[in-house]
């Protein structure tokens, strides 16, 4: 049987240093009180209206993401290691995006195959040759991490387009502080509430050249979007306008916002709308969500989009296997975080291996996300594997496969009491003036016993994530 890394306890049962105060508190707290606190937490989230839409279910059900009241904790030392790895990775990925849209040195040097890369449909032709302020393309990155041992963190996925979830990270902390003030009094947890101000500072730092006091807005597709709560939340916390496409208009080579005092210039758009919907004059002509003409303003250097157009290729699952080489090429450093071994089913050898080892592997769609449409070998039935095999054979290049990782587990308060459940982590890395990461992240937890799928759309929950001061 696989031994999973336990976030709280050493193999001999001794509690890790970072968890000592929490363990004591759990021991001192009656289960009844934990239950009532959990109910209270749920009520708080309902009152806040933090829900998310589950796609693919009848009626697009709106659900509350279950919240677990037992935090996941990192020591200062662990976090130092992890954050150094995150910053290294995002710095290199930003340089990669810049290079692909300019000199393409990584291809000339032969470090990456030209054909795989330049034929990638996620490379946006309209970005070629365009300079963006401070060469920042990925202002906000959400890097999905799993842990398998003490200092072994694997990057599962880089999310470089429009990563969501940071509002849960902030509200989880907020809720914990309201529910357990006594706990926070006894443990030195690093603060996270400055995240929106950090985001704003970085967005302002990437305003077009020559703008003194830049105006930043958050652009949302609207209240029907599954992450609308987050868009409104971040705009509110940053103290900037939340706008929809129809609130913005292009005039005289600028983007202007309709306000009650008239039209006002917008310098930085933190947009939570995918590329293809952003400008109907170049992308999808039927989109009414974006800002017609915005590409021309971008190319004129008069507005900054965060994230920039065309970052998607760099987090594509077909590029993922090359990220360690990307880090070595641009930074001349060895990657701090590990990459999961990946079989690219476009390659005949990898395809043959995968088909032989389906029960041991996780197979994913190259362009998929959110845990939809993947096969978790060890959890699958023979029938599911057969059906999936047919899908793979129909179009092998649409799939990659990875070994099933032994995700660490963390004590979680479930119906049976306190029990270990598998977790991952999505920290948010900000780029602007510098590259930085707020000491926290969204810990997602698979609430079903033994499950390795943490996605909220697949029944996962979340936890508060603590980084200790010392």
């Amino acid at each position: 049987m696989t031994r999973f890394f336990d976030e709280m306890s050493l193999p001999d049962g001794e509690v890790r240093g970072a968890y000592r105060a929490l363990a004591q508190w759990l021991e001192d707290t009656p289960v009844e009180r934990l239950k009532s606190k959990r109910d209270e937490a749920e009520m708080l989230f309902r009152r806040l209206g933090i829900t998310f839409l589950v796609y693919g279910q009848e009626g697009g059900a709106e659900r509350l993401i279950p919240f677990d009241i037992i935090p996941r904790i990192f020591s200062a030392r662990e976090w130092e290691h992890l954050s150094a790895g995150l910053i290294q990775r995002v710095r290199a990925l930003n340089m990669f995006v810049h290079d692909i849209y300019h000199e393409r040195e990584i291809i000339r040097a032969g470090a990456l195959p030209a054909e795989t890369l330049l034929a990638n449909a996620l490379i946006e032709p309209h970005m070629h040759g365009l300079d963006v302020p401070r060469d920042v393309y990925v202002h906000v990155a959400g890097i999905d991490i799993v842990r398998v041992a003490e200092d072994r963190f694997y990057v599962l996925e880089d999310n470089l387009r429009s990563p969501s979830g940071v509002s849960y990270m902030l509200e989880n902390r907020n809720t914990m502080m309201r529910l357990f003030p006594d706990l926070f009094a006894s443990v030195d947890v690093q603060a996270v509430e400055h995240y929106p101000q950090e985001l704003l500072r970085n967005l302002r730092a990437t305003a077009p050249a020559g703008v003194d006091d830049p105006t930043v807005v958050v652009l949302t597709p609207g209240s029907y979007n599954s992450a609308y709560f987050e868009h409104a939340f971040l705009a509110d916390q940053m103290g900037v306008e939340l706008v929809e496409g129809q609130d913005l208009t292009v005039r005289d080579g600028q983007v202007l916002m309709r306000t009650i005092e008239g039209l006002k210039r917008v310098d930085v758009i933190y947009r939570r709308i995918n590329d293809e919907f952003m400008d109907p004059l170049v992308f999808r002509p039927d989109s009414t969500l974006g800002v017609p003409g915005v590409l021309s303003v971008c190319r004129g250097g008069r507005v900054t989009l965060a994230n920039a157009f065309g970052t998607g290729f760099a987090d594509d699952k077909s590029i993922y296997p090359f990220v360690p080489d990307v880090i070595r090429f641009y930074l001349s450093e060895e990657p701090i975080l590990e990459n999961v071994e990946t079989y690219v089913l476009r390659k005949p050898d990898d395809l043959a291996y995968t088909l032989e080892h389906l029960p041991d592997l996780v197979v994913k769609e190259v362009h998929g996300s959110g845990g939809y449409g993947m096969l978790v070998g060890p959890m699958s039935t023979a029938g599911e594997r057969e059906a999936y095999r047919a899908r793979i054979l129909d179009c092998p290049e649409n799939f990659i496969a990875q070994p099933t990782l032994a995700l660490s587990h963390c004590p979680t308060f479930v119906d049976e009491g306190i029990a270990p459940r598998h977790v991952d982590l999505r920290p948010y890395v900000l780029s602007g003036e510098t590259v930085s990461v707020v000491p926290c992240g969204l810990t997602r937890v698979a609430l079903t016993e033994g499950s390795l799928v943490v996605n909220s759309s697949q029944g996962g929950g979340t936890k508060d994530t603590w980084v200790l001061d010392s």
Binding site: L118, A119, P125, P285, P292, R299
Partner: protein, 273 residues
Amino acid sequence: MRLSIVHRTAYQYDAAVSFGIQYLRLTPYANASQRVIRWTVEAPGKLTRWTDAFGNSCDTLIFDDPGDRIEIVAAGEVETSDTTGVLPDEQGGVPVETYLRPTPLTDADETVADFAAPHAEAVSRDRLDGAHRIATAIRDRIDYREGATDVQSSASEALRNGYGVCQDHAHVFIAVCRALHIPARYVSGYLHVADRDAPAPAGHAWAAVWIEGLGWVSFDVANRTCGTECYVGTAVGLDYESACPMRGIREGGESAERLSVSVDVREKRRPAS
């Protein structure tokens, strides 16, 4: 050859238009085969000039309350020379490999792949010769017929229909070349036809393929020829969608839109010295 060009586009609506925005690609680029002597774009609104990633000169046109009729006139003079249809990679622009990428209008589905397959051998022996054979085969297969297709028609549809206009010939040629790993791009612009009296009812479109060591070689499949001094390009792109002369949206004007286009291309004879 010095060409004098007047390209008029008029939209007539059933009701007044309140707002509109368009990207215009109506200004010829400069390269080894064409030099712009003078050029103007006139429209009932404000124009902001920018350059897209393909190196095209674009204007963003914005009109407020232009009424129920909009007329856009692009006109000027261009000096052309015959480069036997070959152009060096004139500007940085996008990397050549980008032109291998299929688009919805140039998707290599089964119909396209079946048509491409017999040409694979000729292409692997000699790309340029292969491209000539493909161009001829497409023209033999697809009759020139106006009004039978529209700008949304894909390469595959044109092949199955067996008829189309210059744009369809270009899309099929691009799709087939890309299916055989030859970078190919769409060109929109103007064609001078010596014996034409009346203005043409549309601009022209053709395609170009990348031949390593030679450059971009243009093919006007519809007219069974490579580029000559009678051709003036205004924009290049992956397909019609990214190289079209105009693309926009409007508010108001009701649903009906009547479009009339006239393109007048004449040789300007220099006075005898």
